[in-house]
Amino acid sequence: MSTPALETHDLSVSYRGKPVLHGVDIEIPYGSLTGIMGPNGAGKSTLLKAIMDVVQPDNGWVKLLNKPLKEVLGRIGYVPQRESVDWDFPVTVFDVALMGTYAGLGWFGRPGKHHRARAMEALEQTGMVDLAKRQIGELSGGQQPRTFLARALAQDAEIYLMDEPFAGVDAATERTIVHLLGRMRDAGKTVIVVHHDLQTAARYFDRLLLLNMRVVAHGLTTEVFLPEILEKTYGGKLTLLSEIAARAHQGEGGQK
């Protein structure tokens, strides 16, 4: 098998002494559209944060484009979860899209005409041109993820990590996002999306990663979207696993 776009090996993460992810091994091929699914508290967002090196893993490693994150900065894109954005921040929709073009700008560089054109084009693709001058807090629930998707498009990265872009959006926006994700995949991008809705998962994604504190199943949608695997993923938290792991962690000198 050729090298994967994203690879993690034995990745384990804990938050303040509480283990969240155990020994996660993933290999995601180039040019695929993968959904990360799992119940609340399964560690979906945490996995993205560990991949982005925002949280330090206890164990294991991550490789993006066959390299550690530090060596591929600028080539990885990210769409944050709605709740983690400060919607009151004084920036406009256009400002956010333009931020996608800042890679390589350095500390004192200024975005030029060509950066602006890229941002505008991205806003066109997400249907946000009319709202370009709005402060982001004045957007509706469907327009908010479109703004950040525009930033991702303007960036033209190779791997995209998206944290629940479908949460709380209207049907029209959902169609737009699905369409854009498909186009990104067809353009050879590797897109990894945390998703909540089981109803749509099989239609939206080529590959699924079913997560519940550890990888339950991972592969082509047709191979893993099966009742018994879903049952295993969503059939309650693994109480014993988390309890024992927490005890072990504390006993080894972690904090309470």
């Binding site: 982005m52 900065l73 600028g74 990210y78 944050p80 400060d86 004084p90 956010v96």
Partner: protein, 404 residues
Amino acid sequence: MTALQYALLAALLLGTVSGLLGSFVVVRRMALTGDMLSHAVLPGIVAGLAWNESRNPLIVLISAVIAGVLGSLTMNGLLRFTKLKPDAALALVLSVFFAIGIAMISRLQPAGVLAFLYGQVAAIDRRDLVLLLAVTLVCVVLIPLAFRQLCLVSFDAAFARLLGFPVRFFEIAFFLLLTIVIVISMQAVGVVLVTAMLVTPAAAARFCTHSLPKTAAIACGMGALGGVAGVWISSLGNNLPTGPLMALATTVLFLGAGLLGPRRGWIPSMLRRKRESRRIAGEDVLKTLWLHEELPGLVRPLIPNERLLKKLTASGWIERTTTGVHLTSSGHDQATKLVRTHRLWERYLTEYAAYKADHVHDEAERAEHWIDEKRLAELTAKLGDPSWDPHGKPIPSLRKEASS
């Protein structure tokens, strides 16, 4: 230069630089961190003053910054190794460091420390002013040059890191700069009021604009104006303290912005609401007249509001004859659109939102004023241009070119 000129210049520079940094403090929600720093630097200031015969301001500044760094390291440690929440950790560091500072003052009794505790612009001498000027110049030149990058890091640090910006370096640089500005402002306004000089101008600017560059520019202006006004007012009488007056003058500007700020100020918001409610009242009059034409006698009579009727007449939507008030042809088109919107919305609610027919009228009464032409066209297409509302009343069609 006279003492007053010194003080005015110091206030001008201080106001500018604290307004500039303060706008980042406010959008990054770091106001309490500023407060913590202003207290945590005290042991360093006391040490710098006590063990530095010539009272060189640079040495005082350096030892103060060291104390500030120790304070925030302590805070980070508390957050990392205990389950304390940020507010508790902050309060803890603030009070412990301040207590140490006060204890050191009693023991060492250094000269000039009162200026830092209570603020005393008159105590700012030539050397202080040179230092202040240097810090202001660095901020006013560097921050605007890297403004977009600073905005990115403040808005979405995780994304900035993925793009390759050295976010940690930025955080540390910003923190050091903030500590320096806090130490310098303390001489003018005192420990407690430093936060006021940092936060108030930027908070005021947020009433006026939704752009970060403008927020920063307005905050600089307000800080400078408030500082200078405070110094000037205190020079007018005896026993008028400078620091508190600078803070109060800035607060007056804040109140002014809160009242008049074009974006979120109270008066512009109220005027906008008033304008909307006048529009809605006018539209309701047109609609009532239309319904009266549809089914005379069934509609409750108009409660005439002379001003409103005059305005509608002036807009050419109604005319008043001896027989009463009538819709003009353009007023009739306008009213038709409203009734159409109302009844289509009722259809939409019953068909798509599972409303019962007897629950939709009030909803539509509100919605009809907020559905623009584009949405109306969408609604028409979605519902397949129906002819009847859920109550069996006809949905009127628009005349061709009705809205021209």
